[in-house]
Structure formats: C-alpha cells, structure tokens
Amino acid sequence: MAIFAMTDGLVIVNGVTLSDHANEITVEDTRDEVDITAFGATSKAITKGLGDAKITVKFFQDFAAAKVHATLQPLISSSTGIAVEVRATSSARSATNPAALMTGLLMSYSMLDGAIGDASEITAEFVNSSQSGMTYPTV
C-alpha cells in the first residue's frame, strides 16, 4: 500500500462493525518517559517506562437497534475489557493492511454532542485495559 487517503477505514467494537457510522480514527501507542538522570550527568538521560494505548473514534450517533448507541452505551457501565480493532481499509488483515487491536474500556460516553444544524457526532475514547497493550496483527 502506498500513501493513501482515509476513505475506507474499519472500526470494530466488541465484535460489531461500526465503520459506516465513523469518520475519524486515531490510534495512540505510547510509552512513559522516565527520567533516569543521576548526579554527575551533563545531559538528561531518559528511558521508556510503562506503555499505554488508546483508540479514539468519532461516530455519527444512531439510536437504532444494534447501531452506535446500542453498542457503546452498555460499555460505559462495564468493567469488562472488549476488543477494539481498527484498520486503514476494510480489506482483510494483511502485511499491507495491518490492524490496530487492543482490549479496551470506554471511559466516557457523550450520548449527544452537537448544536443546531450539526450532524450528531460523538467521540468515543477507548483506553487500554490489558497487559498486551496495542498489537498490530496482520493475519
């Protein structure tokens, strides 16, 4: 896959494909910066600490059965991590279309967020809830 425009992103939350209601995806896989500079040092020394991961998706709200609200709302009261997967395209996972996959928790849910005349868009932020963090399966 060469440089591409995001036109066919894939979003799967708890097994439910919600791509046709999403228009923005952000994947973050980070490590804490830990300062290990000791006396006598002339420059700061930094190492990597704990990892963290987050997937943020912007959805068009839909209250129909099995759509956005019905899929996301139960997650806010749940402490069970669920699989969140995104891909650059809806094609099968492959070396040129890897997935970003993590077990995550939905930490905030804004059922409505918009002004008059706006499309009803909401942002869902899934944070990492397992030791495996973010993985990038290709199969």
Partner: protein, 103 residues
C-alpha cells in the same frame, strides 16, 4: 450460564480437572477473575445475528447469520441487550454438570 474449560492443572469446584468442560453461572466479576487468571477459558458457542449490522463478521441478512464465539457473560449481555445477537439452540446447553453431588 456459560460453558468453561479448565486450563490449569488444578481441580475446580473439587470435581473438574484440567481440560474438563463444565457449565456454571459465575457472576461477572467471578468469571472475569477466573478467565483473566488463566484458570478457565470460555468455550465458544453459536450466536445468531438479528440485524443488518455486521457482528463478528456476520450480518443478519447473510445466508448463514450465525457465528461461533467465546464471549464473557458481560460481553454477551451487551450484544444481546443491544439487539445485536441471540444465542442459538439455548436448550441444548447442558444444565447439570455443576450439580452438587447428592448424598
């Protein structure tokens, strides 16, 4: 109720050895603890997709709208209550394997 497989070399509930399968009604917390610790694994079961939304790669309008998955109680509840899926052949689930021994 879910069906579980014992994954560690211990006796569960005094009767289920490693790789045995049994049905049980754990609470959400009990189940999560047992699965996360690696003691138990949820045995996959079949589900039917009820809507024209893709769930586990299957749509309710597909020729075969069923799929097999190993879901935790709470994950399953979220999809059942959301109108996404239902269990297939619920009646065939064995209900006696956790029965206490009489005597």
């Amino acid at each position: 109720m879910n069906r579980y497989k014992v994954m560690l070399p211990v006796l569960v509930n005094g009767e289920h050895a490693q790789f045995d399968e049994f049905d049980s009604e754990f609470t959400v917390d009990e189940e999560r603890t047992n699965v996360q610790s690696g003691l138990l694994e949820v045995v996959p079961r079949r589900y039917r997709v009820l809507v024209d939304t893709e769930v586990y790669g299957v749509r309710g309008t597909d020729e075969d709208p069923t799929f097999s998955a190993a879901m935790l109680i709470e994950q399953e509840q979220m999809l059942v209550n959301g109108g996404h899926i239902e269990r297939v052949d619920d009646a065939s689930v064995k209900k006696t394997t956790t029965k206490k021994k009489e005597g």
